[in-house]
């Protein structure tokens, strides 16, 4: 393990050396001046991962999300090159990284936009490192946009990096955004965060099911589920509200129920201890 790694490193370094000698000015279009820290997303993270992979420190997926694997790779790099080991890609680290690696921005970003499976190890021809050639279907490469691929992602100018709060999947977030939009699309932002927070509080509570879907589809729990409004397409604001709730904000101060006082006449719901009113909804425990 250690041996192969060193071998890869040595080969990588050797090739990097040859390359950097041949293309010396390539450092010009490297990293933006920001310090990159764990948890960050974006093009700089892609470059960081690609460069670390180039010399064999990073073996994960180049996805533009600075997670644990990137963190350890960066620290190992810093240690190997005698830099301060802090897990931050600051000026010195980036300079060193740029000087010992080569970054083919077009190749990497194209693959990310197309959603290809690819790697970026130094010393291996690039054509052999993307999923298009993995699949071995030269006919597809001829058709731009690739029918089997992701045509929509190609057109988007900004690349989106999928970064999720721990413990929740993209579909959980989408489902919650649907529920929030169906239930509270006319409400102020804080009211939408509140509805999302109630869903999360119910998951926490022993009185309710323990999953996002279990809580949302509990019979009679949400009117938007009963009348099908949950299947409207949510807007960006609803998604943002869900993300805020998932990250721990709870404008309801721990409420489990809410109702619209103009519509709800169930005596039981009125008898619950109230916390407060946000927008049109009264929140209760």
């Amino acid at each position: 393990m250690q041996k192969t790694r060193q071998l890869v490193l040595a080969i990588g370094l050797g090739i990097a050396f040859v390359w950097s000698a041949a293309f010396a000015p390539n450092a010009a279009n490297a990293f933006s001046p920001q310090v990159i820290q764990k948890g960050a997303t974006g093009d700089d993270v892609v470059e960081l991962q690609a460069r670390l992979q180039y010399i064999g420190f990073y073996r994960g997926k180049i996805d533009g999300v600075f997670g644990w694997q990137t963190y350890w790779a960066l620290r190992n790099f810093q240690q190997r090159y005698g830099l301060k080991v802090d897990g931050l890609a600051g000026a010195d680290t980036k300079k060193k990284l740029v000087s010992v690696t080569r970054y083919d921005k077009k190749f990497v970003m194209d693959n990310i936009r197309k959603g290809n499976r690819f790697t970026y190890y130094g010393g291996v021809p690039l054509q052999r490192q993307t999923s298009e050639s993995y699949r071995g279907q030269p006919s597809k490469a001829g058709a731009p946009g690739g029918k089997g691929g992701q045509p929509a992602a190609n057109t988007a100018k900004k690349t989106n990096y999928n970064h999720l709060p721990a413990g929740f999947s993209q579909s959980d977030i989408n489902l919650m955004a649907n529920a929030v939009y169906g239930e509270a699309r006319g409400e102020p932002y804080i009211g939408q965060v509140a509805v999302a927070a109630v869903i999360l509080n119910r998951i926490q509570s022993p009185l309710f099911p323990d999953t996002v879907a279990g809580v949302i589809f509990q019979p009679g729990a949400f009117t938007a589920v009963q009348d099908g409004q949950i299947w409207l397409t949510p807007n960006q604001q609803a998604k943002q509200a869900v993300l805020d709730a998932l990250n721990g904000w709870d404008p309801t101060n721990g409420a489990l129920y809410y109702f619209n006082p103009d519509k709800a006449t169930s005596a039981w719901i009125w008898s619950r201890p109230q916390v407060g009113k946000i927008g049109k909804h009264i929140f209760t425990k």
Partner: protein, 439 residues
């Protein structure tokens, strides 16, 4: 002639409409029947599971937790989860059925603690007392649910009607199912529940812990000026309202409207001591101008400015153009994880857009824990899976499964491409938690 044609056409139209109507009716009934059958199954399953839980509780009482008793407890744990799943499928959200759901949850937690966590240790006398009580309670619930089941079967009652009755505007007073279930819940509620607080604990209890805050009580006016200082919004309209009884702790909600920009910020301020518990400000966020790193520095500076000293950044995440940061209090070199503060910072100008320190406020007392580990880090490491390569380690306070703060050695290590967090109790070397770090 014309008349006959018209009659014929109308007759055909009538027949077609009638057939169409019949089909619609049939389809609708099929859908309703399907829903009804689902409800029926859920209810019958529920009663069956509670029967079984009752039986197994009885068996455990006779055998103790080691040996066959442990198997029964594990089975109870499994059955209670299934029973709770069935409750979740019934249209009971607006019905007072809370106590029963809570009972099931307690049975599940108890059996988990007693069997899985305790391992081979025999049950303690107080556990027996609790078992005894659970046995009695589940017996009552079992019988009452069976009674309701009998009524449903005898009178061909439908759950669809229950759903309609609950959804309708009128008081659902004369529905036998509803009345029956309400009675079940009342019976459970009549038991004196002397739960170990740990059994019923959830993270929601952090809100309740806020009632233990101390300090001089503040007025509405004070709440407004506290929020004004905190958010630094000078030209805003401030409105403060006291929170209702349900909040569990006395507090004000302060709303700030910045009409000039159309922004709104909302904050909750505890009445005792005037602590800001959380705030959220909403505005459009422009394109990213600053890095996550600079934003985390801005968040740290904000904390410093408002008197939160010795906070360590433990987690940072970027979501498009906002950064979310978690800070934990440091007591000496111990990281007090439950005493945490979360912040959201806009990456266009570094403004703090949201703040939440309820963990920090609720865990003030952690500082009085004994913070001297009884065993060395090397000894703690021995009990770990040796294939995990430890990369970082420090002392940390965490909340264990019972909701108690415990001093642990925290080891962050890697195995293959995965990163793990292993928490080993610093007093006795027991592994409290092992987590796979996904983000």
């Amino acid at each position: 002639m014309v008349r006959n044609v018209i009659i014929a056409v109308l007759a055909i139209a009538l027949i077609v409409t009638g057939y169409w109507g019949y089909r619609e009716h049939r389809d609708k009934n099929a859908v309703l029947q399907h829903a009804e059958n689902n409800y029926q199954q859920a209810y019958h399953d529920l009663t069956y599971y509670i029967d079984k839980i009752h039986d197994h509780l009885g068996t455990v009482l006779a055998t103790g937790s080691n040996g066959t008793g442990a198997n029964d407890l594990t089975e109870i744990w499994r059955l209670s989860a299934l029973a709770r799943g069935d409750i979740g499928q019934l249209p009971l959200t607006l019905l007072p059925f809370n106590k029963t759901a809570e009972l099931l949850s307690n049975i599940g937690n108890f059996s988990y603690q007693a069997s899985v966590k305790n391992g081979k240790q025999p049950l303690k006398p107080e556990d027996y007392k609790q078992l005894e009580s659970l046995y009695k309670q589940s017996g009552t619930v079992e019988k009452s649910l069976r009674d309701v089941q009998q009524v449903i079967m005898d009178h061909h009652l439908r759950w669809m009607d229950v759903e309609m009755a609950l959804a309708s505007q009128k008081q659902p007073a004369d529905n036998q199912v509803i009345d029956g279930l309400r009675a079940v819940d009342q019976k459970v509620g009549n038991f004196e529940n002397d739960w170990d607080p740990a059994v019923t604990r959830t993270q929601l209890n952090e809100w309740d812990a806020l009632k233990n805050l101390t300090g001089r009580p503040i007025s509405k006016k004070d709440a407004q000026s506290i929020v004004r200082r905190f958010l630094n919004i000078q030209n805003g309209k401030y409105v403060a309202e006291p929170l209702g009884k349900g909040s569990g702790f006395p507090a004000y909600t302060v709303t700030v409207r910045e009409d000039r920009y159309g922004n709104t910020a909302v904050a909750t301020v505890a009445r005792k001591g005037g602590h800001v518990v959380w705030f959220v400000k909403y505005r459009d966020i422009k394109d990213r101008r600053i890095s996550l790193y600079r934003a985390s520095n801005a968040a740290g500076a904000f904390l410093n400015r408002h008197g939160f000293k010795n906070m360590a950044l433990i987690k940072s995440d970027q979501y498009d153009n906002v950064g979310v940061f978690t800070f934990a209090r440091k007591i000496g070199d111990v990281w007090d994880y439950p005493a945490s503060i979360r912040m959201k910072v806009a990456l266009d100008n570094g403004e703090v857009l949201a703040f939440d320190d309820r963990g920090y406020l609720a865990h003030q007392s952690d500082a009085s824990l004994p913070l001297k580990p009884a065993i060395t880090a090397e000894a703690a490491k021995k009990g770990m899976n040796q294939t995990i390569a430890v990369q970082e380690q420090h002392l940390a306070i965490i909340e264990n499964d019972l909701g108690n703060p415990v001093l642990c050695y925290e080891f962050i290590g890697t195995k293959g491409s995965d990163t793990y967090r292993v928490l080993v109790n610093a007093a006795d070397g027991r592994q409290e938690k092992v987590e796979l770090m996904t983000a």
